[in-house]
């Protein structure tokens, strides 16, 4: 198991878990806010729709469905 922080909250996940899956398991629903401020979450799951973009280790606009969790990673979603 590895541990990542989702909005400051520790989440333990199996190795190979994607950041998107970890965010959902942390109980978060909103991944990003659209240009009009709507709540959005993953749609395609395969890296083409960009709806699951979050900030990972300070780097914004990362497609969370395509990034495997790294131990100690800090993930920040929109609120």
């Amino acid at each position: 198991m590895i541990e990542i922080l989702v909005n400051g909250k520790p989440v333990r996940v199996a190795f190979g878990t994607t950041v998107a899956a970890a965010i959902l398991m942390a109980g978060e629903v909103v991944f990003r806010r659209s240009v009009r401020g709507e709540a959005r979450g993953p749609l395609c799951g395969i890296g083409i729709c960009f709806e699951c973009c979050v900030t990972i280790d300070g780097l914004p606009n990362q497609r969370s469905c395509q990034v495997p969790c790294r131990d100690g990673a800090e993930v920040v979603t929109a609120c």
């Binding site: 899956a21 749609l43 395609c44 083409i48």
Partner: protein, 407 residues
């Protein structure tokens, strides 16, 4: 400095078609590379799976695999530009095989942008990515055999599938089932699917008309009702990924990449296999991949032996298209205030005023966000009959620093 790589045969995409093409080509030349955007080979269909039936595993080890690598441009003759993490890679080839697969088609209806509305394949991919779905109530809606495959997978993971809503009419689905029953392998697949779905309601001629938090309103035979769910998984068939083919100048026909009997596109030396030439799943993709692999390495005789199998695959593709054709009523689900372009939040009313893509883009920014029209493009085509008309590099968003390295 950019990294660079040169191979005789370069395959784009490591799904069934790409793996079959690369393994076949590797039987003749040691200089084969696969470039793939995912973390591991297998494409969408074999995501997270060890078994890849029909693929010569021993040969994969002879192929150079570049994972997490997105092709974004074709800057010169026989050359691709790809992005791998924070590095740019120039990939040079003698022959190119495109096996870029397909994505789900999403149709806009009120509530489809809610975070709890996910693609069917999308939800499966996220669960394969480690999300726990056990105990969650899921409604699966849309069209095509993928609905059943995803339902069976989610069931095995402990989800409660409240309903599978298939928009196609019962008669068409039954006709398709009879076609499938003629192929022993497909019949076995269907039987095992049905066994894992015992007790799950499968409704034909049924589709979602509105999603709200915690429920979806479904419509069937003029009746509507609300079905409670934690997630609505929704996808209306598949659309081919043709962006790279179009950028290379390959002719598209009715949205698919046009190929000759050798799987060669209208650009000499550029081959294409699998979903971009016709939606039909794993079996047609593998046989086309093998034909492309043989032909790209000059072995037409061996390729020709596979033509009857490819013909069978093409018949299956036609039956699939016929059975799960989208009903025109689905276009009526999109209201004037329904968002069509999710990247730029553009509503249907704003798009419907324009008669071509250029005007739509210039006036509304629809299709100009990070997905580059991959989601809204097929939706606009279905709603207004306007097919996407141009592709420009980079075909995936890249950090501008990578493109400016040479300046």
């Amino acid at each position: 400095m950019k990294d660079s790589l040169a191979c005789e045969i370069v395959v784009v995409g490591a799904g069934p078609a790409g793996l079959a093409a690369a393994c076949t080509a590797a039987g003749r030349t040691r200089s084969v590379a696969i470039v793939d955007g995912n973390t591991a080979p297998g494409g969408q269909i074999w995501r997270g799976e060890v078994r890849m039936p029909g693929i010569d595993r021993a040969r994969i080890s002879q192929v150079r695999l570049l994972s997490d690598t997105l092709v974004v441009d074709c800057p010169g003759d026989h050359s691709l530009l790809a992005v791998q993490g924070d590095r740019a890679v120039e990939i040079r080839y003698e022959k190119l095989i495109l096996a870029t697969g397909a994505r789900e088609r999403f149709l806009p209806f009120p509530g489809w942008t809610l975070p709890t509305v996910v693609g069917t394949g999308g939800l499966q991919a996220i669960v394969k990515g480690g999300m726990r779905i056990a105990g969650k109530r899921v409604v699966i809606a849309g069209s095509g055999p993928l609905l059943l495959a995803v339902a069976a997978y989610l069931c095995r993971q402990g989800a409660r599938i409240a309903m599978i809503a298939e928009q196609a009419p019962r008669s068409a689905v039954f006709r398709f089932a009879r076609t499938v029953a003629r192929s022993p392998r497909k019949l076995l697949q269907s039987i095992s699917l049905m066994q894992s779905l015992t007790g799950t309601p499968y409704r034909t001629g049924c589709w979602p008309i509105e999603a709200v938090e915690g429920a979806v309103t479904l419509s069937r035979g003029g009746k509507t009702w609300s079905e409670p769910c934690d997630y609505l998984a929704c996808g209306f068939g598949l659309v081919p990924n043709t962006e790279l083919a179009a950028l290379l100048g390959c002719v598209l026909q009715d949205g698919f990449v046009a190929v000759d009997t050798c799987q060669q596109t209208t650009q000499p030396g550029v081959f294409c296999a699998g979903e971009p030439t016709g939606i039909g799943g794993v079996e047609p993709a593998i046989v086309e991949g093998r034909i492309a692999g043989y032909c790209a390495t000059g072995r037409m005789d061996e390729a020709a032996r596979l033509f009857p199998e490819r013909d069978r695959g093409n018949r299956f593709r036609r039956a699939l298209e016929e059975a799960f054709r989208l009903r025109p009523e689905l276009a009526g689900l999109t209201g004037p205030d329904t968002i069509v372009c999710r990247c730029e939040d553009v509503t249907f009313a704003r798009i419907a005023k324009h008669g071509n893509w250029r005007a739509i883009k210039l006036q509304t920014r629809c299709g100009m966000g990070p997905c580059q029209g991959r989601v809204c493009g097929p939706a606009v085509e279905f709603l207004l009959g306007i097919p996407p008309d141009s592709v420009r590099p980079p075909i995936f968003p890249v950090p501008v620093g990578l493109l400016s390295e040479d300046l």
